[in-house]
Symmetry: C2
Subunit: 318 residues, 2 copies
């Protein structure tokens, strides 16, 4: 298992070099909230529309020729899927992605368009996506590329933090990050040791926030609330992520669907950027006054792959 | 009148320095159209959501202390208005903007929010906006900052071309530009002497395209067709623009409202960028196969200030 290797800051620096060789830095844009001028990192401007391309590229690039020949299996609600598919196509590796049946159709279609095989599983019904992936791995000898519990993936996501420090010319005071399983948050914590890192999760899906309080991995309840943040619904964080975040991340913050929609509208009107619900969680926390802001604060806008009808309804609402 | 001075390439280079001192370059993003990988310049990511901030900043920065004290008057359907208001606030100059009553409310509100006084005139009814502005100038001694027929404004808009050459590492083969009165197109022609420059205008509002054919300024007809491109409805281009473009610009291209809406949807889904109708005209021409494309082609995405309800309807439509 990949979890046997720990992610490291050196690994993040290597990832940042590999990512910089193939992807231009995403812009760090000024944004004013409540009279404070801070910064937004526009990761939806990645070719796949989300930061997940970073970790996927770093992971697949590190595969041996023998591993590459056996292919990769990813598990994802959509953005990691596209990241793995993009990297796999670029490297000539076969990719199979396990996705929930309720993932946005636009994400399923985009993953297939990138050449990956998609295997659907039933998220609400309770199939364990990791078991589905494990069966595929056992059958093919492929390498599992976990969406967040993987040292290369964590390091790859952390490359965003290296870019931010270069763009800002100093360490941010605080990075506010949309958080699913904790891959990005852990990567940023490694990348920016002098910055506070705040994980923001949907209400009821704060598996990283709860794990930080408990000091150990906490599984989501049997009947978690619905959330529009399809990208931020992990069944739990994992020890490899928690090991980085324990004692390092700030207390977790949760946001409601309405706060997320308000953030999507703000990004539309003020930044002219399309942000998906899960990609707007950090901005939602900032706008709702749930995190202290100063001129060196960075808000991660992590993705923009959103169903057109849902987005139109959000934008048209007051 | 400002028209007595001609715009020059040296002026564009000075403008590029002044703009670079205050505004980071907007990203040049890869985009694939019909299997060709080309480039999109994301000007909606400027602080005011449009390239117009460039020309306004260059113009207002060049005012003497005495001129600054008397204020500025701008004429604009919305984006130039915000550019002048932004520059004026930053420089402590009083700004009055003449805007049409049918400008998007979001643009009028944004202009006022930037501290400018807005004077409305009736575009469909036929009031001459230049006469309204001339009266204000006569009364106050303010400097008129024309939206396109001004040498500093042309040079300022051209700074986008200097950025593009730096980002691409070479001259683009072709720059496809949304075109209203011809300020941006002329500026790009001066900035990039080795690149073809293609003006794209709404059907019936191709005042630059028609002037290039006629060899002289052509006024829009008495009953021009409706267009959703509120930013691209000049009554005519002007000699200062035509003097640069004559013998230099490629033949003009026109686009329909449906082509523009398709381009807005493409930018939403593929680039996760909010583009207003007038800002999507160049992309519309590229997507409709109306301009040859190659790997060194640049498509200007010039603005993203759009009414939320209209945008939602466009995005939700098939």
């Amino acid at each position: 298992m990949n979890e046997q290797r720990m992610s490291t800051r050196d690994g993040v620096l290597r990832a940042a070099e590999r990512v910089a060789a193939i992807l231009p830095p995403t812009p760090l844009l000024p944004v004013e909230i409540d009279g404070v001028r801070l910064w937004a990192k526009a990761e939806m401007l990645q070719p796949i529309g989300a930061f997940k391309i970073r970790g996927a590229w770093h992971r697949l690039f590190a595969l041996t020729a023998e591993e590459s020949a056996r292919g990769v299996v990813g598990v994802s609600s959509g953005n990691h899927a596209q990241g793995v598919a993009w990297a796999a196509r670029r490297l000539g590796i076969a990719a199979t992605i396990v996705m929930p049946t309720d993932a946005p159709q636009t994400k399923i279609d985009a993953t297939r368009a990138l050449g990956a095989e998609v295997v659907l599983y039933d998220r609400p019904g309770g199939e364990d996506r990791d078991e589905v992936a494990a069966r595929l791995v056992a059958a093919s000898g492929a390498t599992l590329v976990h969406a967040f519990a993987d040292p290369w993936v964590i390091e790859g996501q952390g490359s965003a933090g290296i870019e931010i420090e270069t763009q800002l010319g100093r360490a941010p005071s605080r990075i506010i990050a949309c958080c699913g399983g904790g891959g990005l948050t852990a990567g940023l914590a490694l990348a920016c040791p002098d910055s506070a890192v705040v994980p923001v999760e949907p209400v009821g899906w704060d598996m990283v926030g709860q794990a930080l309080v408990a000091g150990e991995v906490v599984k989501v309840g049997a009947h978690p609330p619905a959330t529009i943040c399809d990208a931020l619904q992990p069944p739990a964080t994992r020890e490899i992520n928690l090991a980085v975040l324990r004692g390092r991340a700030e207390p977790g913050v949760t946001v409601t669907d309405d706060e997320v929609r308000a953030a999507q509208r703000f990004a539309f009107a003020r930044l002219r950027l399309v942000v998906e619900p899960g990609g707007a969680a950090a901005l939602a926390a900032a706008l709702a006054g749930k995190v202290p802001l100063d001129g060196d604060t960075v808000v991660m806008l992590t993705g923009g792959n959103v169903d057109p009808a849902a987005y139109a309804a959000t934008i048209a609402a007051k």
